[in-house]
């Protein structure tokens, strides 16, 4: 009897009994938020009807986000279920006031899993939420798959989930970054620029070169390509296979050591890669390009005085006295940088005559 009572207690005192039928809930997959004088909320709900892969769009306003969500119930007959959101699109003027405002809603909601993509946009959210995606019917799925794919193959997009964004936002000595999207020709397109934050406010965007540099330093773009001019008019491309980066900060100098493995993908110049001379020429041009990109990233950091690379965090962990006794802004403004790039070409894919050596 005691045993049976114990088993029964397990059901009632754990608080894990939230019975809800699948048909009674609306599965939200995409949320977009804007803020002017009050919150404007647009959500996409997955359509349960047979043989349709569409989403249904609901809009509402509210004084708080929670209020806006409750207002949707005036229109939507089922209870919203937020456990499966894939993307959370935020209009950039929400961040101008500070991200903490709406992040509070997400953190307090027990239903939301923290592994969705959070995105910044410049365009009107109503336009974005009304666009139908072609290849993958569910827009949120399409966006999050797109970010996942292009962060690997392109390298200018960062695949940053909400939990990672939260970590960089509140961690000491590092600032948050977010990927962004825009509308081109009535299509949702991933933007080449990374949004950067100071404290929790959106300050600026990095351009595509700086974004690429940021991703290389964070080892985020593992299969992306480096394209550079190899003579006056023509370009060549190398694919990065492996990125190994670490940095040190000694005597006001940021020393970055990069070890790259790359493979030739396209060679349009007349360079003889059968001998070491030609290969070395390519290698130097490749290294110059990588250095240029990373220098751009560091220059942007110095110019904006926003420590998105996490130099402050490095100092906080390794040289705490130095971190405490100096103003971080001054350190960043006055630092020098030294970049050591070491590259190994694994294969050169001999196609042309005389290339047999590789």
């Amino acid at each position: 009897m005691k045993k049976i009572l114990l088993i029964l207690l397990m059901f009632f005192i754990t608080g894990c009994t939230d019975y809800r039928e699948l048909t009674d809930m609306a599965i939200v997959s995409n949320i977009a938020v804007d803020y002017t004088d009050k919150y404007k909320l647009i959500i996409q709900v997955l359509d349960n009807k047979e043989n349709s892969n569409n989403v249904i769009v609901y809009k509402s306003n509210g004084k708080t986000l929670e209020d806006a969500f409750r207002n949707i119930s005036l229109e939507c007959p089922k209870k919203l279920y937020l456990g499966h959101i894939r993307t959370f699109i935020v209009k950039d003027n929400v961040f101008i006031d500070g991200a903490s405002k709406f992040i509070d809603f997400i953190l307090r909601n027990h239903e939301i899993e923290k592994d969705f993509n959070i995105l910044v946009t410049n365009d009107d959210i109503e336009d974005i939420m009304s666009i139908k995606t072609e290849l993958i019917n569910i827009p949120s799925e399409s966006i999050s798959k797109g970010i996942e794919n292009s962060s690997i193959v392109k390298g200018t997009i960062s695949n940053i989930y909400f939990d990672k964004f939260l970590m960089t936002l509140y961690d000491t000595g590092i600032e948050g970054v977010l990927p962004s999207i825009k509308i081109i020709d009535n299509n949702i397109v991933l933007d080449n620029k990374i949004a950067i934050f100071k404290k929790d406010k959106l300050i600026s965007y990095l351009d595509s070169d700086s974004s690429f540099g940021y991703n290389i330093l964070n080892k985020g773009s593992s299969k992306s390509i480096v394209t550079f001019k190899c003579d006056d008019t023509n370009y060549s491309s190398f694919e990065l296979l492996d990125i190994n980066s670490n940095y040190k900060f000694i005597n006001n100098t940021l020393i970055i050591n990069l070890k790259l493995t790359a493979t030739l993908k396209e060679l349009n110049c007349n360079i003889d890669i059968t001998n070491n001379k030609g290969v070395n020429r390519l290698k130097n041009m490749f290294i110059d390009e990588v250095k240029r990109v990373i220098n751009k990233t560091i220059d942007d950091e110095k110019k904006l005085q926003i420590d998105y690379l996490g130099i402050g965090r490095y100092l906080y962990k390794n040289n705490y006295d130095f971190y405490v006794s100096n103003n971080m802004n001054n350190i960043i403004k006055n630092m020098d940088s030294k970049i050591n790039v070491d590259v190994v070409f694994t294969q050169k894919s001999s196609i042309k005559k005389g290339d047999e050596k590789y």
């Binding site: 088993i7 397990m10 059901f11 754990t14 894990c16 009994t17 939230d18 019975y19 809800r20 039928e21 699948l22 048909t23 599965i27 997959s29 997955l46 349960n48 009807k49 047979e50 279920y81 456990g83 499966h84 894939r86 239903e111 899993e113 799925e141």
Partner: protein, 472 residues
């Protein structure tokens, strides 16, 4: 005396007393025509007795002469009336000469004969199965182990039925303690009749567990294999199923076919059987937990798929699952009990009602039909009925717990299931051996089956006297 016997058996019309007059002496044959082979009585006994009628010389010592020369391979003198009655019921003919009584066996074959194994089919290996005949069953085992160490002990159990029970074990392998234990248990049985070997099994059962703690089999090759790994076989008259003691849980996932095939294949199939067991016990509960409580762990695309199929079904998922389960059990039960001529009609109705019409009418979701179908198919993988019965009950427990608190309930039920399994013992042998207690060598005949083990070792726990099967 004869009149006395007649009245003891209630003047049964099938009790025949054939009186003969031989050399001026009255000789009578007593037998049951329903239990004896009457043609052999006619052909042999009566013909022979009619032949000696003409010989006058032997009239001096007729009883001795008949005892010496009658064409029967065994002739026993019986003395009192109880013995006579017992032996009459065993299919003997009793010959009365003067005051002496002799008995001869002319038993009629009353069983179905050796047939193919019905419920434990194999692809390779012998096809014969036990019959209802005690002697045949013992013979089938003896045929496989021609060794002096295969010992047989006989008991008569059942106050009214007097059923013969044979205990078989290999003297230099089996655990003597276990044998004595079983003998004690059999002696303690106090019942009027033993209709089937499962009655013995009920007497052996000490706990309330749903899982069987003896192995029931109709395959003589399995029995001989298990005897050689130190188990004790119990053969019961009138039953084509032999009990093997002790039983381990993992043995229900083994079949005789495993030993006749490539061991890699056997290992793979055993893995499939374990997956099937887990499926048949847990799948409906798991599905209910996923769809009503823990939808967070379902990938979104799959969840939408579930939601699409569930759309428009008026019942809660739990009710749907229980209903489908009951409908399937009804179908199964009717399929077993109905005459085979109705079988095809049944399956058509069942397939149409369950598979198509119910879904089209929007009463059940297609995914629930799939879930119950997979569950039902997985259940049928066990040839031993007791295991699938236990799985059936545990499935309902899982459904109940899952409907109360989702995944948490499923895991509570899982803990209960595991604690039940590890708490069973079969004649003081741990049921979950070789998993708990763990034994490294016997792992090779657990989920795994290796050639090395197959050719070399016996079970380490039961074969205490002789652990090596052979040296490769």
């Amino acid at each position: 005396m004869i009149e006395k016997i007649k009245s003891r058996v209630g003047n049964s019309p099938d009790f025949i007393v054939r009186e003969l007059d031989l050399c001026n002496e009255k000789v009578s044959l007593l037998f049951f025509e329903t239990l004896t082979d009457t043609s052999s009585i006619n052909e042999c006994l009566l013909k022979y007795l009619g032949y000696i009628k003409t010989k006058k010389k032997i009239s001096l010592n007729l009883a001795n002469y008949i005892k010496k020369y009658i064409p029967a391979f065994k002739i026993i003198e019986v003395f009192n009336i109880d013995e006579i009655i017992t032996i009459l019921f065993s299919g003997f003919v009793v010959l009365n000469i003067g005051s002496k009584y002799y008995s001869m066996e002319v038993r009629r074959q009353l069983d179905s004969g050796i047939t193919k194994a019905e419920s434990e089919k194999t692809i390779r290996g012998p096809k014969d199965a036990f019959t209802e005949n005690y002697q045949t069953n013992i013979g089938l085992i003896r045929k496989r182990i021609r060794n002096e160490n295969l010992w047989l002990e006989e008991f008569n159990v059942g106050k009214k039925s007097n059923t013969k029970i044979g205990l078989m074990y290999i003297n230099d392998i089996a655990n003597k303690c276990l044998v004595n234990n079983i003998i004690n248990e059999i002696n303690n049985i106090n019942i009027d009749s033993i209709p089937d070997s499962t009655y013995i099994y009920d007497y052996f059962k000490k706990n309330k567990s749903l899982f069987p703690n003896v192995l029931l089999t109709e395959r003589p090759d399995l029995v001989s294999y298990k005897l050689l790994s130190g188990k004790v076989a119990i053969v019961v008259d009138n039953t084509p199923y032999v009990l093997l003691v002790p039983a381990f849980f993992m043995e229900f996932f083994h079949t005789m076919d495993d030993y006749f095939q490539n061991t890699f294949n056997s290992t793979y199939i055993r893995l499939i059987r374990i997956i099937a067991f887990i499926t048949t016990v847990m799948l409906p509960g798991f599905y209910i937990a996923l769809i009503t409580y823990n939808y967070e762990i379902v990938p979104p695309s799959l969840l939408v798929n579930f939601a699409m199929q569930k759309e428009g079904v008026p019942f809660p998922t739990v009710l749907e699952a229980v209903l489908m389960n009951i409908i399937f059990e009804i179908l199964r039960e009717t399929d077993i009990r109905a005459p085979s001529t109705l079988g095809s009609a049944l399956s058509i109705v069942g397939a149409l009602v369950l598979g198509d019409a119910a879904v089209n009418a929007g009463l059940v979701s297609p995914i629930m039909v799939i879930v119950i179908a997979i569950t039902a198919i997985s259940e049928l993988i066990f040839s031993i009925n007791d295991v699938s019965n236990a799985a059936k009950i545990w499935r309902l427990i899982f459904i109940l717990f899952a409907s109360l608190s989702g995944m948490l309930g499923v895991f509570i039920a899982l803990i209960l299931l595991v604690s039940e399994l590890v708490s069973i013992d079969s004649f003081d042998f741990p049921y979950m051996y070789p998993n708990a207690p763990f034994n490294l060598i016997d792992q090779e005949n657990n989920i795994l089956l290796t050639d090395n083990y197959k050719l070399k070792f016996r079970n380490k726990l039961t074969a205490i006297k002789n652990k090596i099967r052979g040296v490769k």
